[in-house]
Protein backbone atom coordinates (compact mmCIF):
# COMPACT_ATOMS: atom_id res chain seq x y z
CA UNK A 1 0.00 0.00 0.00
CA UNK A 2 2.86 2.36 0.85
CA UNK A 3 4.53 1.85 -2.55
CA UNK A 4 1.47 3.13 -4.49
CA UNK A 5 2.55 6.82 -4.60
CA UNK A 6 6.03 5.75 -5.71
CA UNK A 7 4.65 3.51 -8.44
CA UNK A 8 2.36 6.27 -9.75
CA UNK A 9 5.22 8.75 -9.65
CA UNK A 10 7.69 6.52 -11.48
CA UNK A 11 5.35 5.35 -14.20
CA UNK A 12 4.00 8.87 -14.80
CA UNK A 13 7.47 10.46 -14.97
CA UNK A 14 8.59 7.74 -17.35
CA UNK A 15 5.66 8.39 -19.68
CA UNK A 16 6.00 12.16 -19.41
CA UNK A 17 9.75 12.08 -20.20
CA UNK A 18 8.82 10.55 -23.53
CA UNK A 19 6.14 13.14 -24.34
CA UNK A 20 6.58 16.80 -25.40
CA UNK A 21 5.88 18.83 -22.27
CA UNK A 22 5.05 22.07 -24.08
CA UNK A 23 1.68 20.64 -25.13
CA UNK A 24 -1.14 21.51 -22.71
CA UNK A 25 -2.58 18.02 -22.28
CA UNK A 26 0.79 16.68 -21.15
CA UNK A 27 0.83 19.20 -18.28
CA UNK A 28 -2.68 18.10 -17.34
CA UNK A 29 -1.52 14.46 -17.39
CA UNK A 30 1.26 15.41 -14.97
CA UNK A 31 -1.32 17.08 -12.73
CA UNK A 32 -3.45 13.92 -12.78
CA UNK A 33 -0.42 11.87 -11.72
CA UNK A 34 0.40 14.21 -8.85
CA UNK A 35 -3.23 14.17 -7.71
CA UNK A 36 -3.05 10.38 -7.79
CA UNK A 37 0.01 10.47 -5.54
CA UNK A 38 -1.81 12.95 -3.30
CA UNK A 39 -4.78 10.58 -3.01
CA UNK A 40 -2.44 7.68 -2.17
CA UNK A 41 -0.78 9.81 0.50
CA UNK A 42 -4.19 10.68 1.97
CA UNK A 43 -5.03 6.95 2.07
CA UNK A 44 -1.80 6.40 4.00
CA UNK A 45 -2.79 9.23 6.35
CA UNK A 46 -6.09 7.49 7.03
CA UNK A 47 -4.25 4.28 7.82
CA UNK A 48 -1.83 6.07 10.16
CA UNK A 49 -4.76 7.83 11.83
CA UNK A 50 -6.28 4.40 12.55
CA UNK A 51 -3.18 3.63 14.57
CA UNK A 52 -1.46 1.15 12.26
CA UNK A 53 1.97 2.05 10.79
CA UNK A 54 2.16 0.83 7.18
CA UNK A 55 5.73 -0.17 6.33
CA UNK A 56 7.45 -2.28 3.71
CA UNK A 57 10.98 -3.52 2.96
CA UNK A 58 12.00 -3.28 -0.72
CA UNK A 59 12.93 -6.61 -2.27
CA UNK A 60 11.23 -8.56 0.51
CA UNK A 61 14.54 -8.95 2.37
CA UNK A 62 14.67 -9.25 6.17
CA UNK A 63 14.96 -6.04 8.25
CA UNK A 64 18.28 -4.16 8.06
CA UNK A 65 19.13 -5.63 4.62
CA UNK A 66 16.52 -4.13 2.31
CA UNK A 67 15.48 -0.47 2.38
CA UNK A 68 12.53 0.08 4.70
CA UNK A 69 9.72 2.47 3.74
CA UNK A 70 7.32 3.39 6.53
CA UNK A 71 4.56 5.97 6.95
CA UNK A 72 4.33 7.50 10.40
CA UNK A 73 2.68 10.72 11.52
CA UNK A 74 5.76 12.82 10.72
CA UNK A 75 6.18 11.37 7.21
CA UNK A 76 2.54 11.49 6.21
CA UNK A 77 2.04 14.82 8.03
CA UNK A 78 4.50 16.37 5.56
CA UNK A 79 3.69 14.28 2.47
CA UNK A 80 -0.03 15.09 2.23
CA UNK A 81 0.17 18.92 2.44
CA UNK A 82 3.30 19.12 0.28
CA UNK A 83 1.79 17.01 -2.51
CA UNK A 84 -1.35 19.09 -2.23
CA UNK A 85 0.64 22.32 -2.66
CA UNK A 86 2.55 20.97 -5.67
CA UNK A 87 -0.76 19.97 -7.26
CA UNK A 88 -2.16 23.45 -6.57
CA UNK A 89 0.91 25.18 -8.07
CA UNK A 90 0.78 23.00 -11.18
CA UNK A 91 -3.00 23.43 -11.49
CA UNK A 92 -2.66 27.21 -11.47
CA UNK A 93 0.31 27.05 -13.85
CA UNK A 94 -1.63 24.84 -16.27
CA UNK A 95 -4.48 27.34 -16.31
CA UNK A 96 -1.96 30.04 -17.20
CA UNK A 97 -0.69 28.18 -20.22
CA UNK A 98 1.31 25.31 -18.81
CA UNK A 99 5.04 24.89 -18.27
CA UNK A 100 7.22 26.08 -21.14
CA UNK A 101 9.86 23.36 -21.06
CA UNK A 102 9.65 20.09 -22.95
CA UNK A 103 10.31 18.00 -19.84
CA UNK A 104 8.64 20.46 -17.42
CA UNK A 105 5.67 18.22 -16.49
CA UNK A 106 7.96 15.22 -15.99
CA UNK A 107 10.13 17.29 -13.64
CA UNK A 108 7.11 18.31 -11.58
CA UNK A 109 6.17 14.66 -11.12
CA UNK A 110 9.78 13.80 -10.30
CA UNK A 111 9.87 16.51 -7.61
CA UNK A 112 6.74 15.00 -6.07
CA UNK A 113 8.26 11.52 -6.30
CA UNK A 114 11.49 12.71 -4.69
CA UNK A 115 9.65 14.41 -1.85
CA UNK A 116 7.37 11.42 -1.24
CA UNK A 117 10.51 9.34 -1.01
CA UNK A 118 12.17 11.77 1.40
CA UNK A 119 9.13 11.77 3.69
CA UNK A 120 8.40 8.03 3.64
CA UNK A 121 11.82 6.35 3.74
CA UNK A 122 13.32 5.06 6.97
CA UNK A 123 16.79 4.57 5.49
CA UNK A 124 19.34 7.39 5.84
CA UNK A 125 21.11 6.82 2.50
CA UNK A 126 17.82 6.30 0.68
CA UNK A 127 16.80 9.66 2.19
CA UNK A 128 19.93 11.09 0.47
CA UNK A 129 19.02 9.52 -2.90
CA UNK A 130 15.45 10.87 -2.86
CA UNK A 131 16.81 14.19 -1.52
CA UNK A 132 19.02 14.35 -4.62
CA UNK A 133 16.13 13.34 -6.88
CA UNK A 134 13.98 16.24 -5.70
CA UNK A 135 16.94 18.66 -5.74
CA UNK A 136 17.92 17.51 -9.23
CA UNK A 137 14.45 18.16 -10.58
CA UNK A 138 14.44 21.54 -8.78
CA UNK A 139 17.77 22.45 -10.43
CA UNK A 140 16.35 21.43 -13.80
CA UNK A 141 13.06 23.31 -13.29
CA UNK A 142 14.94 26.46 -12.31
CA UNK A 143 17.39 26.12 -15.21
CA UNK A 144 14.62 25.49 -17.77
CA UNK A 145 12.12 27.85 -16.13
CA UNK A 146 14.21 31.01 -16.15
CA UNK A 147 14.29 33.18 -19.26
CA UNK A 148 17.43 34.45 -20.90
CA UNK A 149 19.58 36.40 -18.49
CA UNK A 150 18.04 34.92 -15.37
CA UNK A 151 19.48 31.46 -16.07
CA UNK A 152 22.50 32.54 -13.97
CA UNK A 153 20.46 32.03 -10.78
CA UNK A 154 20.27 28.33 -11.64
CA UNK A 155 24.06 28.16 -11.28
CA UNK A 156 24.05 29.92 -7.90
CA UNK A 157 21.21 27.71 -6.72
CA UNK A 158 22.87 24.52 -7.90
CA UNK A 159 26.36 25.21 -6.59
CA UNK A 160 25.17 26.08 -3.10
CA UNK A 161 22.81 23.16 -2.84
CA UNK A 162 25.42 20.75 -4.19
CA UNK A 163 27.59 21.84 -1.28
CA UNK A 164 24.63 21.19 1.02
CA UNK A 165 24.20 17.69 -0.42
CA UNK A 166 27.88 16.93 0.03
CA UNK A 167 27.59 17.91 3.69
CA UNK A 168 24.59 15.64 4.09
CA UNK A 169 26.42 12.77 2.36
CA UNK A 170 29.39 13.14 4.72
CA UNK A 171 26.97 13.19 7.67
CA UNK A 172 25.30 9.95 6.47
CA UNK A 173 28.75 8.38 6.10
CA UNK A 174 29.56 9.49 9.64
CA UNK A 175 26.29 8.08 10.98
CA UNK A 176 26.96 4.75 9.28
CA UNK A 177 30.48 4.57 10.63
CA UNK A 178 29.32 5.42 14.16
CA UNK A 179 26.42 2.94 14.29
CA UNK A 180 27.06 0.33 11.58
CA UNK A 181 23.53 0.64 10.20
CA UNK A 182 21.58 2.96 7.93
CA UNK A 183 18.05 2.28 9.26
CA UNK A 184 17.00 5.40 11.18
CA UNK A 185 15.37 3.75 14.24
CA UNK A 186 18.37 1.39 14.58
CA UNK A 187 20.77 4.34 14.23
CA UNK A 188 18.77 6.28 16.82
CA UNK A 189 18.79 3.41 19.28
CA UNK A 190 22.53 2.70 18.84
CA UNK A 191 23.39 6.41 19.15
CA UNK A 192 21.37 6.55 22.35
CA UNK A 193 23.50 3.91 23.97
CA UNK A 194 26.81 5.10 22.41
CA UNK A 195 29.53 5.36 25.13
CA UNK A 196 31.34 8.22 23.40
CA UNK A 197 28.13 10.30 23.40
CA UNK A 198 26.24 11.67 20.43
CA UNK A 199 28.49 12.40 17.40
CA UNK A 200 28.06 16.20 17.68
CA UNK A 201 30.27 16.80 14.67
CA UNK A 202 27.94 14.73 12.46
CA UNK A 203 24.97 16.55 14.03
CA UNK A 204 26.50 19.92 13.14
CA UNK A 205 26.97 18.75 9.54
CA UNK A 206 23.32 17.72 9.34
CA UNK A 207 22.29 21.01 10.89
CA UNK A 208 24.38 22.98 8.36
CA UNK A 209 22.98 21.00 5.42
CA UNK A 210 19.34 21.54 6.47
CA UNK A 211 19.87 25.20 7.43
CA UNK A 212 21.31 25.75 3.96
CA UNK A 213 18.20 24.12 2.50
CA UNK A 214 15.89 26.35 4.58
CA UNK A 215 17.92 29.46 3.77
CA UNK A 216 18.41 30.32 7.43
CA UNK A 217 20.52 33.35 8.37
CA UNK A 218 24.15 32.39 8.09
CA UNK A 219 23.37 30.37 4.93
CA UNK A 220 20.73 32.61 3.39
CA UNK A 221 22.67 34.41 0.66
CA UNK A 222 21.50 32.18 -2.20
CA UNK A 223 17.79 32.60 -1.42
CA UNK A 224 17.02 36.19 -2.54
CA UNK A 225 18.41 36.04 -6.10
CA UNK A 226 17.03 32.55 -6.73
CA UNK A 227 13.52 33.09 -5.27
CA UNK A 228 13.05 36.52 -6.80
CA UNK A 229 14.33 35.88 -10.32
CA UNK A 230 12.77 32.52 -11.15
CA UNK A 231 9.31 32.50 -12.69
CA UNK A 232 6.33 32.33 -10.31
CA UNK A 233 5.68 28.56 -10.35
CA UNK A 234 9.36 27.70 -9.84
CA UNK A 235 9.74 30.22 -7.02
CA UNK A 236 6.53 28.98 -5.37
CA UNK A 237 7.90 25.44 -5.65
CA UNK A 238 11.26 26.34 -4.11
CA UNK A 239 9.90 28.50 -1.30
CA UNK A 240 6.71 26.62 -0.57
CA UNK A 241 7.71 23.02 -1.15
CA UNK A 242 11.44 22.31 -1.20
CA UNK A 243 12.11 24.28 1.97
CA UNK A 244 10.19 21.46 3.68
CA UNK A 245 13.11 19.10 3.14
CA UNK A 246 14.97 21.35 5.59
CA UNK A 247 12.21 21.46 8.22
CA UNK A 248 11.39 17.74 7.82
CA UNK A 249 15.07 16.87 8.00
CA UNK A 250 15.52 18.85 11.21
CA UNK A 251 12.47 17.20 12.78
CA UNK A 252 13.42 13.69 11.63
CA UNK A 253 17.19 13.72 12.20
CA UNK A 254 17.05 16.18 15.09
CA UNK A 255 13.93 14.93 16.83
CA UNK A 256 14.00 11.18 16.16
CA UNK A 257 17.55 10.15 15.27
CA UNK A 258 19.69 12.40 17.45
CA UNK A 259 17.46 13.82 20.23
CA UNK A 260 20.30 14.43 22.67
CA UNK A 261 22.36 16.23 19.99
CA UNK A 262 19.32 18.46 19.39
CA UNK A 263 19.09 18.97 23.14
CA UNK A 264 22.75 19.99 23.26
CA UNK A 265 22.23 22.45 20.40
CA UNK A 266 19.08 24.05 21.82
CA UNK A 267 20.71 27.36 22.66
CA UNK A 268 22.39 27.57 19.26
CA UNK A 269 19.10 26.93 17.44
CA UNK A 270 17.35 29.65 19.45
CA UNK A 271 20.07 32.19 18.69
CA UNK A 272 20.24 31.37 14.97
CA UNK A 273 16.44 31.34 14.69
CA UNK A 274 16.05 34.67 16.47
CA UNK A 275 18.83 36.26 14.37
CA UNK A 276 17.20 34.98 11.19
CA UNK A 277 13.82 36.45 12.14
CA UNK A 278 15.33 39.88 12.80
CA UNK A 279 17.70 40.04 9.84
CA UNK A 280 15.27 38.46 7.37
CA UNK A 281 12.53 40.91 8.35
CA UNK A 282 14.83 43.93 8.20
CA UNK A 283 16.11 42.94 4.77
CA UNK A 284 12.52 42.43 3.61
CA UNK A 285 11.62 45.95 4.77
CA UNK A 286 14.53 47.43 2.86
CA UNK A 287 13.48 46.08 -0.52
CA UNK A 288 11.05 47.54 -3.05
CA UNK A 289 10.33 44.78 -5.62
CA UNK A 290 7.63 42.42 -4.29
CA UNK A 291 9.43 39.21 -5.34
CA UNK A 292 12.47 40.19 -3.24
CA UNK A 293 10.31 41.15 -0.26
CA UNK A 294 8.74 37.68 -0.45
CA UNK A 295 12.17 36.04 -0.75
CA UNK A 296 13.50 37.72 2.39
CA UNK A 297 10.17 37.12 4.12
CA UNK A 298 10.51 33.36 3.60
CA UNK A 299 13.97 33.51 5.19
CA UNK A 300 12.56 35.36 8.19
CA UNK A 301 9.55 33.06 8.56
CA UNK A 302 11.71 29.94 8.45
CA UNK A 303 13.54 31.41 11.43
CA UNK A 304 10.41 30.70 13.52
CA UNK A 305 10.79 26.97 12.76
CA UNK A 306 14.30 27.11 14.20
CA UNK A 307 13.01 28.92 17.29
CA UNK A 308 10.32 26.27 17.80
CA UNK A 309 12.93 23.51 17.48
CA UNK A 310 15.17 25.39 19.86
CA UNK A 311 12.41 25.29 22.47
CA UNK A 312 11.94 21.60 21.79
CA UNK A 313 9.73 19.35 23.87
CA UNK A 314 6.17 18.42 22.99
CA UNK A 315 4.97 22.01 22.42
CA UNK A 316 8.15 22.96 20.53
CA UNK A 317 7.97 20.14 18.00
CA UNK A 318 4.23 20.72 17.44
CA UNK A 319 4.91 24.43 16.87
CA UNK A 320 7.77 23.59 14.46
CA UNK A 321 5.52 21.36 12.35
CA UNK A 322 2.60 23.82 12.34
CA UNK A 323 4.95 26.66 11.35
CA UNK A 324 6.55 24.59 8.57
CA UNK A 325 3.12 24.00 7.05
CA UNK A 326 2.00 27.60 7.59
CA UNK A 327 5.12 28.83 5.76
CA UNK A 328 4.74 26.39 2.88
CA UNK A 329 1.08 27.21 2.20
CA UNK A 330 1.60 30.94 2.77
CA UNK A 331 4.67 31.23 0.56
CA UNK A 332 3.26 29.07 -2.24
CA UNK A 333 0.14 31.28 -2.27
CA UNK A 334 2.12 34.52 -2.17
CA UNK A 335 4.62 33.63 -4.89
CA UNK A 336 1.90 32.32 -7.22
CA UNK A 337 -0.22 35.44 -6.63
CA UNK A 338 2.73 37.79 -7.14
CA UNK A 339 3.33 36.14 -10.51
CA UNK A 340 -0.17 36.70 -11.87
CA UNK A 341 -2.08 39.84 -12.82
CA UNK A 342 -5.66 41.00 -12.47
CA UNK A 343 -8.56 41.43 -10.01
CA UNK A 344 -9.34 38.87 -7.24
CA UNK A 345 -5.58 38.58 -6.66
CA UNK A 346 -5.53 41.47 -4.21
CA UNK A 347 -7.67 39.40 -1.88
CA UNK A 348 -5.52 36.29 -2.32
CA UNK A 349 -2.30 38.23 -1.68
CA UNK A 350 -3.98 39.82 1.34
CA UNK A 351 -4.73 36.36 2.77
CA UNK A 352 -1.09 35.41 2.28
CA UNK A 353 0.06 38.67 3.90
CA UNK A 354 -2.32 38.08 6.83
CA UNK A 355 -0.97 34.56 7.26
CA UNK A 356 2.64 35.74 7.29
CA UNK A 357 1.91 38.55 9.75
CA UNK A 358 -0.17 36.29 11.97
CA UNK A 359 -3.49 38.08 11.45
CA UNK A 360 -6.53 35.80 11.92
CA UNK A 361 -8.45 34.20 10.28
CA UNK A 362 -5.64 33.24 7.85
CA UNK A 363 -3.71 30.22 9.19
CA UNK A 364 -0.59 32.10 10.26
CA UNK A 365 -1.85 33.01 13.71
CA UNK A 366 -2.20 29.31 14.59
CA UNK A 367 1.56 28.94 14.15
CA UNK A 368 2.19 31.96 16.33
CA UNK A 369 -0.19 30.68 19.02
CA UNK A 370 1.59 27.32 19.09
CA UNK A 371 4.93 29.15 19.23
CA UNK A 372 3.79 31.43 22.07
CA UNK A 373 2.52 28.40 23.99
CA UNK A 374 5.88 26.68 23.55
CA UNK A 375 7.78 29.84 24.50
CA UNK A 376 5.75 30.40 27.67
CA UNK A 377 6.05 26.70 28.56
CA UNK A 378 9.81 26.90 28.00
CA UNK A 379 9.84 29.94 30.31
CA UNK A 380 11.51 32.12 27.69
CA UNK A 381 9.88 35.56 28.05
CA UNK A 382 12.61 37.26 25.96
CA UNK A 383 11.57 34.91 23.15
CA UNK A 384 7.93 36.00 23.41
CA UNK A 385 9.03 39.63 23.08
CA UNK A 386 11.23 38.68 20.10
CA UNK A 387 8.35 36.91 18.35
CA UNK A 388 6.08 39.94 18.96
CA UNK A 389 8.80 42.18 17.47
CA UNK A 390 9.12 39.82 14.51
CA UNK A 391 5.36 39.95 13.98
CA UNK A 392 5.38 43.78 13.97
CA UNK A 393 8.15 43.82 11.35
CA UNK A 394 6.20 41.24 9.36
CA UNK A 395 3.15 43.56 9.43
CA UNK A 396 5.32 46.35 8.08
CA UNK A 397 6.90 44.58 5.11
CA UNK A 398 3.96 42.36 4.15
CA UNK A 399 1.47 45.22 3.97
CA UNK A 400 4.00 47.51 2.32
CA UNK A 401 4.35 44.80 -0.33
CA UNK A 402 0.55 44.46 -0.58
CA UNK A 403 0.07 48.19 -1.01
CA UNK A 404 2.92 48.51 -3.46
CA UNK A 405 1.82 45.54 -5.59
CA UNK A 406 -1.97 45.99 -5.61
CA UNK A 407 -2.80 49.56 -4.65
CA UNK A 408 -0.14 51.53 -6.42
CA UNK A 409 0.62 49.55 -9.57
CA UNK A 410 -2.19 49.34 -12.10
CA UNK A 411 -2.37 45.91 -13.83
CA UNK A 412 -2.84 46.40 -17.55
CA UNK A 413 -3.05 42.88 -19.02
CA UNK A 414 -4.93 40.42 -16.82
CA UNK A 415 -4.07 36.74 -16.53
CA UNK A 416 -6.53 34.07 -17.56
CA UNK A 417 -9.66 34.39 -15.34
CA UNK A 418 -9.62 30.65 -14.58
CA UNK A 419 -6.13 30.99 -13.07
CA UNK A 420 -7.28 33.88 -10.91
CA UNK A 421 -10.26 31.89 -9.65
CA UNK A 422 -7.96 28.97 -8.85
CA UNK A 423 -5.68 31.27 -6.84
CA UNK A 424 -8.72 32.60 -5.00
CA UNK A 425 -9.65 29.00 -4.13
CA UNK A 426 -6.11 28.42 -2.87
CA UNK A 427 -6.53 31.50 -0.66
CA UNK A 428 -9.83 30.06 0.57
CA UNK A 429 -7.98 26.94 1.71
CA UNK A 430 -5.51 29.12 3.65
CA UNK A 431 -8.48 30.88 5.28
CA UNK A 432 -10.31 27.63 5.99
CA UNK A 433 -7.24 26.14 7.69
CA UNK A 434 -7.10 29.25 9.85
CA UNK A 435 -10.76 29.14 10.85
CA UNK A 436 -10.69 25.38 11.45
CA UNK A 437 -7.06 24.58 12.41
CA UNK A 438 -7.81 21.08 13.68
CA UNK A 439 -5.94 19.20 10.91
CA UNK A 440 -2.68 21.12 11.44
CA UNK A 441 -2.80 21.19 15.22
CA UNK A 442 -3.95 17.59 15.51
CA UNK A 443 -1.12 16.31 13.29
CA UNK A 444 1.31 18.57 15.14
CA UNK A 445 0.30 17.07 18.47
CA UNK A 446 0.64 13.53 17.08
CA UNK A 447 4.10 14.29 15.68
CA UNK A 448 5.18 15.84 18.96
CA UNK A 449 4.13 12.79 20.93
CA UNK A 450 5.81 10.56 18.30
CA UNK A 451 9.12 12.42 18.70
CA UNK A 452 8.96 12.95 22.44
CA UNK A 453 7.98 9.29 22.75
CA UNK A 454 5.49 10.03 25.44
CA UNK A 455 2.05 8.41 25.67
CA UNK A 456 0.24 8.75 22.34
Amino acid sequence: MIFVPFAIGWIASLVLLALDGTKRWVSWLALAAILGMFAAAVALLVQVADGLEPSLISGGWPGGIGIRLRADWLGVGFAVPVLGIIAAILFIENLRGGLRARIGPALMVLVSLGLTGVFLTADAFNFYVFFELSMGSAFAITALGTRGKHVRVAATFMVTNLLGSVLFLIAVGGLYHATGSLDMPVVAERLGVDPVGPPLVVASLLLAAFLLKLGIFPFHFWVPPVYSETRAPAAALLAGVLANIGSYGLLRFGGEVMPDALQAGRGLLLVIGAATILIGSLLAISRQPVAEILAYSSIAQNGYILVALGIGGRAGFAAAYVYAMVNSIGKALLFTTAGTRGPLLGGAFLVGAMSTAGLPPALGFIGKLALFRAAWEGAEPWLVAWIVGGALLAFLYMFQAFQQRFWMARDEEHSVPAARVAIALFAMVALALGVWPEPLLGTGAQIASLLVGGPR
Binding site: K149, R152, L163, H177
Partner: protein, 106 residues
Protein backbone atom coordinates in the same frame (compact mmCIF):
# COMPACT_ATOMS: atom_id res chain seq x y z
CA UNK B 1 46.36 5.42 8.27
CA UNK B 2 43.44 7.46 9.59
CA UNK B 3 45.59 10.58 9.68
CA UNK B 4 46.70 10.14 6.05
CA UNK B 5 43.14 9.63 4.85
CA UNK B 6 41.92 12.60 6.85
CA UNK B 7 44.70 14.80 5.45
CA UNK B 8 43.95 13.82 1.86
CA UNK B 9 40.20 14.43 2.29
CA UNK B 10 41.03 17.77 3.88
CA UNK B 11 43.30 18.85 1.02
CA UNK B 12 40.80 17.75 -1.62
CA UNK B 13 37.96 19.58 0.15
CA UNK B 14 40.09 22.69 0.71
CA UNK B 15 41.21 22.82 -2.93
CA UNK B 16 37.62 22.27 -4.08
CA UNK B 17 36.38 25.15 -1.91
CA UNK B 18 39.26 27.34 -3.07
CA UNK B 19 38.12 26.78 -6.66
CA UNK B 20 34.47 27.36 -5.77
CA UNK B 21 35.35 30.79 -4.36
CA UNK B 22 36.75 31.83 -7.67
CA UNK B 23 34.98 34.23 -9.97
CA UNK B 24 35.11 32.14 -13.10
CA UNK B 25 32.10 29.82 -13.26
CA UNK B 26 34.04 26.98 -14.92
CA UNK B 27 36.48 26.93 -12.00
CA UNK B 28 33.51 26.97 -9.60
CA UNK B 29 32.12 23.90 -11.36
CA UNK B 30 35.53 22.22 -11.18
CA UNK B 31 35.47 23.01 -7.47
CA UNK B 32 32.22 21.09 -7.06
CA UNK B 33 33.85 18.06 -8.73
CA UNK B 34 36.76 18.15 -6.29
CA UNK B 35 34.43 18.58 -3.31
CA UNK B 36 32.38 15.58 -4.42
CA UNK B 37 35.57 13.54 -4.87
CA UNK B 38 36.52 14.49 -1.31
CA UNK B 39 33.14 13.29 -0.06
CA UNK B 40 33.51 10.00 -1.93
CA UNK B 41 36.98 9.46 -0.47
CA UNK B 42 35.55 10.26 2.98
CA UNK B 43 32.83 7.64 2.50
CA UNK B 44 35.38 5.13 1.27
CA UNK B 45 37.61 5.74 4.28
CA UNK B 46 34.58 5.17 6.52
CA UNK B 47 34.54 1.64 5.08
CA UNK B 48 38.20 0.80 5.55
CA UNK B 49 38.23 1.57 9.25
CA UNK B 50 36.18 -1.50 10.06
CA UNK B 51 37.53 -5.07 10.48
CA UNK B 52 38.65 -6.58 7.16
CA UNK B 53 35.56 -8.23 5.77
CA UNK B 54 35.10 -11.32 3.67
CA UNK B 55 36.75 -14.74 3.78
CA UNK B 56 38.31 -16.56 0.76
CA UNK B 57 38.51 -13.66 -1.61
CA UNK B 58 41.13 -10.94 -1.04
CA UNK B 59 39.62 -9.14 1.94
CA UNK B 60 37.59 -6.26 0.45
CA UNK B 61 36.49 -3.26 2.48
CA UNK B 62 32.90 -2.83 3.63
CA UNK B 63 30.66 -3.70 0.61
CA UNK B 64 27.81 -1.46 1.79
CA UNK B 65 30.12 1.56 1.74
CA UNK B 66 31.23 0.58 -1.75
CA UNK B 67 27.61 0.56 -2.87
CA UNK B 68 27.08 4.01 -1.30
CA UNK B 69 30.16 5.44 -3.00
CA UNK B 70 29.07 3.98 -6.34
CA UNK B 71 25.65 5.57 -6.05
CA UNK B 72 27.14 8.91 -5.03
CA UNK B 73 29.63 8.73 -7.93
CA UNK B 74 26.83 8.28 -10.45
CA UNK B 75 24.71 11.07 -8.95
CA UNK B 76 27.69 13.42 -8.96
CA UNK B 77 28.30 12.54 -12.60
CA UNK B 78 24.68 13.38 -13.46
CA UNK B 79 24.67 16.67 -11.56
CA UNK B 80 28.05 17.87 -12.77
CA UNK B 81 27.06 17.37 -16.39
CA UNK B 82 23.82 19.27 -15.62
CA UNK B 83 25.88 22.06 -14.03
CA UNK B 84 28.14 22.30 -17.07
CA UNK B 85 25.19 22.48 -19.42
CA UNK B 86 23.77 25.34 -17.28
CA UNK B 87 27.13 27.07 -17.63
CA UNK B 88 26.82 26.56 -21.36
CA UNK B 89 23.38 28.20 -21.31
CA UNK B 90 24.74 31.08 -19.20
CA UNK B 91 27.60 31.56 -21.65
CA UNK B 92 25.12 31.69 -24.52
CA UNK B 93 22.93 34.21 -22.64
CA UNK B 94 25.66 36.46 -21.17
CA UNK B 95 28.62 35.86 -23.45
CA UNK B 96 30.83 35.60 -20.37
CA UNK B 97 31.35 33.27 -17.46
CA UNK B 98 32.87 35.74 -15.04
CA UNK B 99 30.48 35.72 -12.09
CA UNK B 100 31.45 39.32 -11.21
CA UNK B 101 29.63 40.67 -14.30
CA UNK B 102 26.79 38.19 -14.00
CA UNK B 103 26.18 38.65 -10.30
CA UNK B 104 24.85 42.21 -10.57
CA UNK B 105 23.37 42.72 -7.09
CA UNK B 106 19.79 41.62 -7.52
Amino acid sequence: MNLALALCVAVLFGAGIRLMLDRDLVRIAAGTILVSNAANLFLMSAGTGGPAVGQGQPTSSDPLVQALVLTSLVITFGFTSLLFSILHAIFRAWGTLDSREIDRPG
